[in-house]
C-alpha cells in the first residue's frame, strides 16, 4: 500500500492536527492531575479526591475558577508584551509536537496515513529550533511585568535556559552520529529490527546511548524549569518569579505551558531513546516508510491503536518520573546550577560526542555491520562511562557548596572560640 497523496493527504493532515492537539490538551489536564495526586501520595496524603471519581474533575473545577477570576493588569506593565508572554510560553511547546510520530502508520482506502502531523525532513532540527523559543515567554513576562521579582525571575530563567540549551542540543548529537538521518520517524525505525531495508540498531537508543539519554534528561529538566531547576520561580526569594504579576487565565497559560513542556520532553525522550511507539520483542510492529515512499512491514488498524497505547504508556512513565523527581529533590543554589551547566554538563557532553564518534569509527573500521552487536559494543562503552561518572567524577564534584572552604574555616574558628571560652567550666 502506498502513502496517501493529494487532497486526501491534506485532509488527513488537518484531521490529525485537530485530533492530536485535542488529545494533547486532555493529556495536559491529566498531567496536572497526576502531579497533584503523586505529590499527595509521596507526602502520605491522598491528593484531590472530592470533585468527581478520584477527584478527576478537579481539573475542570480549576479551569472554570481560573476563567472566572479577575484579570489584573499592573500599572507598570508594558501592555502588548505582558499580554503576549503567556501565549509565547505555551505555543512553542505545542507546535513542537507536529514532528513527533505517535503510532504506526494507519492503512485506509485512500492509502497509508503516517501517524505524525508533519513528517518534516528536518524534524530533528525543528525540535531544537522551536524548543528554544520557550525562553522568550519567560523573559518577556519577567521584563514586561514591571516588577522586580518578575524581572529577576525572567533574568534567571533566560540565563538558565540558554545555558542548558547548549547541553540539550549537544546531547542529541550522538543520536545523529548513529542514525545519519534527521527525519524523526527514521529515528524510531532505527530502534526497531528489520529483516529488509537499511540496517538498524534493533535496540532502544537508551542502551547504546545511555549517558546521552542521561545528559538529555538533565538538560531537559532544566529547560522545563522544573525542580531541582526551578530557580526562575523560586518562591522563597522571588514570590513566584516571572509570573508573579499574572492572574486568572494568563497565569493558567503559564502553568499549561509548563505542563506542555513536560509532555513535550516526555515525548522527545520516548521518541529519541525509548523506541517511540515500538513494542519491544515483537516483530509485528516493525513498519517503516522510507523517504522515497517504499513501505516495509504490514500495517493494520489495530497495530496503530496498540502502538499509540504503548507510546502513551512510555510518555506517562516519563511524566511520572518528572513528578517524582520534583517531589524528591530540593532546589539547587544558583551558582550550583551554573556550575552544573557550564562546568560539568557542557564538557561531559562534548567529550561524550568525541568518544561516541571515535567508537563509531573504530567499530565500522573493524567491519561490524550496524545491528545488535554494534549496539552492544556501544552499550559496553556507555556502561563504563556511567560507572566513571556516577562513582568517580560525581564524588563531591557535581554539586558542591561554593563557600565550602570558607565555611570550614568559620567552623574551626567557632569551635576554637567556644573551647577557649568554656575551658574552665568543664574542669
Amino acid at each position: 500500500m502506498d502513502p496517501v497523496r493529494g487532497t486526501a493527504y491534506v485532509l488527513f493532515t488537518v484531521g490529525k492536527a485537530v485530533v492530536f492537539f485535542t488529545v494533547l490538551f486532555l493529556i495536559v489536564a491529566l498531567a496536572t492531575m497526576v502531579e497533584r495526586k503523586v505529590a499527595g501520595f509521596i507526602q502520605d496524603r491522598s491528593g484531590p479526591n472530592r470533585v468527581g471519581p478520584w477527584g478527576l474533575f478537579q481539573v475542570v473545577a480549576d479551569g472554570i475558577k481560573n476563567l472566572l477570576k479577575e484579570e489584573t493588569m499592573p500599572e507598570q506593565a508594558v501592555r502588548p508584551f505582558f499580554l503576549l508572554a503567556p501565549a509565547i510560553a505555551m505555543v512553542p511547546a505545542t507546535i513542537l509536537f507536529a514532528v513527533i510520530p505517535f503510532a504506526s502508520p494507519l492503512p485506509t482506502q485512500w492509502g497509508l496515513v503516517e501517524m505524525i502531523v508533519a513528517d518534516a525532513p528536518i524534524g530533528f532540527l525543528w525540535v531544537l529550533a522551536i524548543g528554544s523559543l520557550g525562553v522568550y515567554g519567560v523573559v518577556m513576562a519577567g521584563w514586561a511585568s514591571g516588577s522586580k521579582y518578575a524581572f529577576l525571575g525572567g533574568l534567571r530563567g533566560s540565563a538558565q535556559m540558554v545555558s542548558y540549551e547548549v547541553a540539550l542540543a549537544l546531547s542529541l548529537v550522538p543520536l545523529i552520529l548513529l542514525t545519519g538521518e534527521v527525519r524523526v520517524p527514521e529515528l524510531v525505525a532505527m530502534q526497531q529490527g528489520f529483516s529488509e531495508g537499511p540496517a538498524t540498531l534493533s535496540m532502544w537508543m537508551i542502551l547504546p546511548l545511555l549517558m546521552g539519554a542521561f545528559f538529555f534528561f538533565i538538560s531537559a529538566l532544566a529547560e522545563t524549569n522544573r525542580l531541582p531547576f526551578d530557580l526562575p520561580e523560586a518562591e522563597a526569594e522571588l514570590v513566584t518569579g516571572y509570573h508573579t504579576e499574572y492572574s486568572a487565565m494568563k497565569f493558567s497559560m503559564f502553568m499549561l505551558g509548563e505542563f506542555f513542556h513536560i509532555i513535550t520532553v516526555a515525548a522527545l525522550v520516548t521518541v529519541f531513546f525509548l523506541g517511540g511507539w515500538d513494542i519491544p520483542f515483537w516483530a509485528g510492529d516493525n513498519i517503516r516508510v522510507l523517504s522515497d515512499g517504499t513501505v516495509i512491514g504490514d500495517p493494520t488498524w489495530w497495530k496503530t491503536l496498540l502502538t499509540a497505547g504503548v507510546f502513551a504508556v512510555k510518555m506517562g512513565l516519563i511524566i511520572l518520573l518528572f513528578v517524582w523527581i520534583r517531589w524528591t529533590l530540593p532546589r539547587f543554589r544558583y551558582d550550583q546550577l551554573m556550575d552544573l551547566g557550564w562546568k560539568f554538563l557542557l564538557e561531559a557532553v562534548t567529550v561524550y560526542i568525541l568518544l561516541i564518534a571515535l567508537a563509531v569509527l573504530v567499530i565500522e573500521g573493524a567491519g561490524i555491520e550496524m545491528g545488535p552487536l554494534y549496539a552492544a559494543i556501544l552499550f559496553g562503552l556507555n556502561a563504563v562511562l556511567a560507572v566513571l561518572v556516577f562513582f568517580v567524577l560525581d564524588r563531591g564534584v557535581l554539586i558542591k557548596g561554593a563557600g565550602y572552604r570558607a565555611r570550614l574555616e568559620e567552623r574551626k574558628r567557632v569551635l576554637e572560640r567556644h573551647e577557649a571560652k568554656h575551658e574552665g567550666e568543664v574542669a
Partner: protein
C-alpha cells in the same frame, strides 16, 4: 561541647549527588506506594474528641424547658474577656432568672471559668466546634439558642481522677 551552639557533623566531601538523589527517590517511592495515608476525609469522618474539649456553650434546662440559670452574676464576673452579658430579673414567686443572657462566642476564649464557677451547673461548655456563621451578629448566642444546643457537656476535671480516665 557546651549546649548553646549545636554544630552538626556532616560529611561535606566525597558524597555523590546522583547516588544521593537516587537514595532520596527510593524514600519517596516507598511513601508513594504506601497505602496508609494520613489524610482525614474531614466532613465525612470526624476527629474523636476528648470529653474535656471546651467548645460552644450550652445552657442546662429544667424538665419544663426553663433555663437553670438563676442570674447570680458569677459568670460575667469571672469571664476574663467579658463576653457574657447578663441582666438578672425576679419573677412573681421571688425566684431569680436571667432576663437577658448572651454569650459572644466570637470573643470567648473557651477558658471554661463560667462552667466552673456556676453554682447551679447551668452554663456549660460543650464538645462541639463547628460553628461557622455568615455575620458577626450570629455569633452572639442568646439564652434561647444556648438552651437549644444539644451537644454533650464538657467534662470537668475530677480531683479523684486527675488523668480523666
Amino acid at each position: 561541647m557546651p549546649g548553646d551552639v549545636k554544630i552538626v557533623q556532616r560529611p561535606e566531601t566525597g558524597g555523590s549527588y546522583v547516588r544521593g538523589a537516587m537514595k532520596g527517590m527510593g524514600v519517596t517511592l516507598r511513601h508513594m506506594v504506601n497505602p496508609r495515608k494520613v489524610t482525614q476525609q474531614y466532613p465525612d469522618e470526624k476527629w474523636e474528641l476528648s470529653p474535656r474539649v471546651r467548645g460552644t456553650h450550652r445552657m442546662a434546662t429544667h424538665e419544663d424547658g426553663r433555663a437553670k440559670c438563676v442570674g447570680c452574676g458569677l459568670c460575667p464576673t469571672v469571664c476574663p474577656v467579658n463576653c457574657i452579658k447578663l441582666i438578672p430579673a425576679e419573677d412573681e414567686n421571688g425566684e431569680r432568672y436571667a432576663a437577658v443572657y448572651e454569650i459572644d462566642e466570637f470573643r470567648c476564649i473557651f477558658c471554661g471559668f463560667c462552667q466552673e464557677v456556676c453554682p447551679v451547673e447551668a452554663i456549660h461548655l460543650g464538645v462541639h466546634y463547628e460553628n461557622a456563621e455568615y455575620t458577626r451578629e450570629r455569633w452572639v448566642y442568646d439564652l434561647e439558642r444556648l438552651c437549644e444546643q444539644d451537644h454533650p457537656y464538657t467534662g470537668l476535671w475530677e480531683p479523684s481522677d486527675p488523668d480523666s480516665q
